[in-house]
Each structure stands twice: as structure tokens, then as C-alpha cells.
Subunit: 300 residues, 2 copies
């Protein structure tokens, strides 16, 4: 079923213990789209500035990604992020960030995207996330991501958003900040009281957990002995999860578990190389194979 | 089969956000014994000073724990530890520690304990751990624990010990310190190159991972929304794991996986209350029930 994502498209510079890549493609919507497109067609909504080099966007070509919602805005500049994982592979230090076009108005949602049934609001200002929702006609599943910045500075808007989404995906530090609760299971339950029917907490190398009214599900990360660049792992996880859900049409606990495992496995490809190179090296077949390996490893 | 543990027996004072308990029973061998005794008879070897109040040791009565190896040493004082989890439930801050009798010679291993087939060397000086091994007649499985202090200050002795054990259990920070490797899977592989056939890395609220020559197995923690006192969780985990293994007599990958899951579940009882109170509230039936629940939750 139709899967729409809206979020950032960026030009990244990333440093890790394995090296440095300058001006490579990045952004939450890019990682999400690429990851989800292994499972289902994706409708991408986002905006870059006129400075964005064309070849950068070629990375999405040949994928089942409809880029009619990708706006190249005259007179604007593309979102840029420079991060370093040199000290800590679990948390990036932001060396420099230029919001540029992200600080302007949201990208317009094409008319023929408005019937999308599965919607992922990748991390951006919660006001813009809400504006996106207004433009849609009866989505079946809305999941949002968020970040520290909005939790700290835009809480009223974020709380409004949380009443309008079915699911929230965020990382452990963000969940603790949002709920002022240290224990992650307890934090997840507090998120549920804010509106979402389910919450997924991403814990990086420690995997993820999902809590809904009736279920608590915990998954480790796929064991990887080489992490080259963690950038985009969380968005790839969400892409794998939503991409799989969009092919299923149900949200039974076992479907959601399988979706989280697909997200986990897709993210394990992302972190094996810089930028999109890890995902580019993946195939649906390789993902399925690793998924079965992961599933087997969980059985005891 | 016969399971022997040697390690600390202590008088603890513990502070957590849930309160404070003064002069309660603690120590690695105590938690281990209690946890393992849900599965198999345990032979406890350890030493306290003459200051140790009798009622404190009554906690082990009524359990299948042979305390003939428990020495009450005249003229010595019991190991005491005062820790606080008030700021961080994952890592205790040591407010005060008095090694006392632990800084003296090891406890003597009773003659009729020397044929023990399963041996757990709970955390203590690696030289004392090696002395214990010398006294044993052909154990089938030897697993050791260690800590930051010995890794930093007794590395040559620790390296000698590692060549004599089948398995090492340690936490994530200790694994990183021992191997100077950040990635935990890579760190585990480096531990294998030091001698052990398998290594179990405990990650607290994030579960555990086990790496052997042919296997990598990752388990999340049992999802708990209330952690009252994490003291002894790691020793209880090891107790549940070794206790179950001692009943099986084989170390097939699936047996080890099940053992790790039992360790995980037993630890989830420990952290639900102060000192041994969490384990005292458990029964083998409750452990089995939670184990099956955990197993089911892992299937997707």
C-alpha cells in the first residue's frame, strides 16, 4: 500500500574512526526512502535548495521511489549537517549544522500523494509535521519521529502532534527527555498516555523496544562487529519497519514484531558503510536472508 | 551435577531512588548461590569475619546450598560495600568499600567439594581465582567473572587465569577496558583470543551477548518497568545460567542460549527488590513461567 515519507534531505559531512566523507547525500527522508523501497513503493516529500548538486540525488534513481514530491527551491540552500562519531559511535557530535531550507516552509505534498495510507513523518519541526497531516486524506497509519531539539523547545506543538499520530519512533535519550523518566519501559508507557497507540524506542547498538497498550516487545540489534558510519541507522530502521508494514495491511502484534526485525536488519546494512553505500550494497534477498538468520538466532 | 561457587559474601548498604537498606546481605557468591539454587544444588565457598551477624546468613537457609565451605574467620572482619544508584540505576557509585577478609587468603575448599564439575569463580583477585582452580579435580566447566579493578591492576594474573577457564562473564565496560575495543562483538572476539572458549558480556538493562568460536547470541533484558535495586543482577544472571547448565550436562548452542535466558529471567527477579528480597519472592515455577513468556516474546 502507498507509503509516504516527509523529512529532511541533506548534504552531510561525516567523520568516524573509519574516515571522513564530505558532502555526501543524507537526511532522514533519504535514508528512510531508500530503506523502505526494498519493501514497497515510496512517495518522497522533501525540499532541497538550488545549491544541491544533481548527482547527489541520483542515489535515489533506479529505486521504487516517487520523487515528484521532491522540491528544488529557488533561492534557498540545502540542509547541511557535519557530524563526528570519532569519540563515540553511539552518539554523533554535531560539528556544524545549517538548517537552511528546513527552517522555511514545508514541502508541498503533490495532489496524487494525498491518498497515502501509510505515512512517516521523519524528524522535523512538529508544526510542519502537523501541516503535512492536514494535507492527507485519511491515512491508515501515521508514525512520527522527533528529536531533542523539538522536545526541549517546541513541547506544546509536539504534544499536539502526539495526539494525531498512531505511533512514535524516538531514541532512548529522547524518550527519557520527553517523559522525564529514566526506565525506558516506564518512559514508553508515559508516551502512550500522550496519545500514540504504540511507541518504538531505538537504542542504537542495544536494539529497540516497542510498547503498546497490550504488548511489550524487545529486540537486540543485529550483532555487527564493524560499524563504519551509524548515520541514518534510525531512519533506515523506520524505513524497513514501515516498508514492511505497508506490504501487510495489518498491525497484529506478530506483524509489528516482524516489522521491527526488518527495521533492525535493514539498519545493520546502513551502518556497514558511509552514507547510502551500505544500503546500496544490500538487496531484498540479502535482507531476507539476514532476517531469517536474526529470527533463528532469537529462538532458544 | 555438582556446582561450586566461590566469591564474596558481604554486608551491603545500598541506596537507590526507592530507598536505602543498611547492613543487608550481599556479595557475589551469595547472589549467585541463591539464584543457582533454583536449578541445582550449590556448594558455596567463601569467608566472612567474626563480626558477621548470624541472622544475615540465615538468608541462605532452606535453600539447596551446602554451606560447609563458608568459613567464619576469627579475628577478621567481613567485606563491606556501600553503594549508591541514586544518580544512575545502571552503574553503582561506591560510597565506601572495606575489603577486610577479602584482602586476606582465599577460603579453603572442603575436601568433599573438590570433585565439583561446574565451577563459577565469582569476582575476586585473579590470583585467588587461580588458587581455587588448583584445589579442584577435573572440573568440566569453569567460568570466571572479573572487574575493572583487576583488569587495571592485575592484568598479568588475569591473563594467566583466562588461559585456564572455559568461559568469562563480564560487563560491557569491563569488556571494553580489557580489550581496548569499543565495539562489543569485536571486544568479545578479542577475549576469545585470550583463552576462554566463550564470553558473556552483561549489558544491564540492555541484556547480554554471548560469543564463542562458532556462535554469536544476543538477548535483550527482560523488560522491567520497575527496578528497585540492581545490586546482584549480574551475579544472579550468572547463577541462573550456571545453575541451568549444571542440570543439562551439555554445552550445545541451544542449551547455552536457554541458560542465558534463564540467567536473564532470574536477574529480573533480583532487581525487583532490595538485597535478596527479590529472589526470595521468586519460585522455580514463577521463573519457568517468566522464561516461557520471555521465549514467546522473542519469537517473531
Amino acid at each position: 500500500m502507498s507509503l509516504l515519507v516527509t523529512g529532511s534531505i541533506g548534504i552531510d559531512t561525516v567523520e568516524t574512526p573509519f574516515g571522513k566523507r564530505e558532502n555526501v547525500i543524507g537526511g532522514s527522508a533519504v535514508y528512510f526512502s531508500y530503506a523502505a523501497s526494498f519493501f514497497a513503493p515510496v512517495r518522497l516529500v522533501g525540499v532541497v535548495g538550488e545549491d544541491c548538486p544533481g548527482p547527489l540525488l541520483h542515489a535515489l534513481q533506479g529505486r521504487d521511489i516517487d520523487t515528484h514530491g521532491l522540491e528544488i527551491r529557488r533561492g534557498s540552500r540545502t540542509f547541511r549537517w557535519h557530524g563526528s562519531y570519532v569519540q563515540n559511535m553511539n552518539d554523533a557530535v554535531t560539528v556544524e549544522v545549517d538548517l537552511n531550507v528546513l527552517a522555511e516552509r514545508a514541502a508541498k505534498i503533490p495532489e496524487n500523494f494525498r491518498d497515502s495510507k501509510y505515512v512517516f513523518l521523519a524528524n522535523t519541526h512538529p508544526k510542519i509535521q502537523q501541516e503535512t497531516l492536514v494535507a492527507l486524506h485519511g491515512p491508515k497509519l501515521i508514525v512520527a519521529d522527533t528529536m531533542n531539539l523539538w522536545i526541549s523547545t517546541q513541547r506544546p506543538e509536539l504534544e499536539k502532534l502526539l495526539k494525531k499520530v498512531h505511533g512514535l519512533v524516538l531514541n532512548d535519550g529522547e524518550a527519557r527527555l520527553l517523559t522525564d523518566t529514566d526506565n525506558l519501559i516506564a518512559a514508553a508507557r508515559r508516551v502512550l498516555s500522550m496519545g500514540p497507540h504504540f511507541v518504538v524506542i531505538k537504542k542504537g547498538e542495544h536494539g529497540c523496544l516497542m510498547v503498546s497498550q497490550n504488548d511489550t516487545f524487545v529486540l537486540p540489534a543485529f550483532p555487527a562487529d564493524t560499524v563504519v558510519d551509524p548515520t541514518g541507522a534510525g531512519d533506515s530502521f523506520a524505513g524497513g519497519m514501515m516498508g514492511y508494514l505497508a506490504t501487510q495491511g495489518s498491525f497484529s502484534p506478530s506483524t509489528v514484531k516482524r516489522a521491527l526485525a526488518f527495521g533492525t536488519v535493514v539498519a545493520s546494512f546502513t551502518i556497514a558503510d558511509f552514507s547510502l553505500d551500505g544500503l546500496k550494497a544490500a538487496t531484498r534477498h540479502a535482507i531476507d536472508e539476514r532476517w531469517h538468520q536474526f529470527k533463528q538466532a532469537m529462538i532458544f
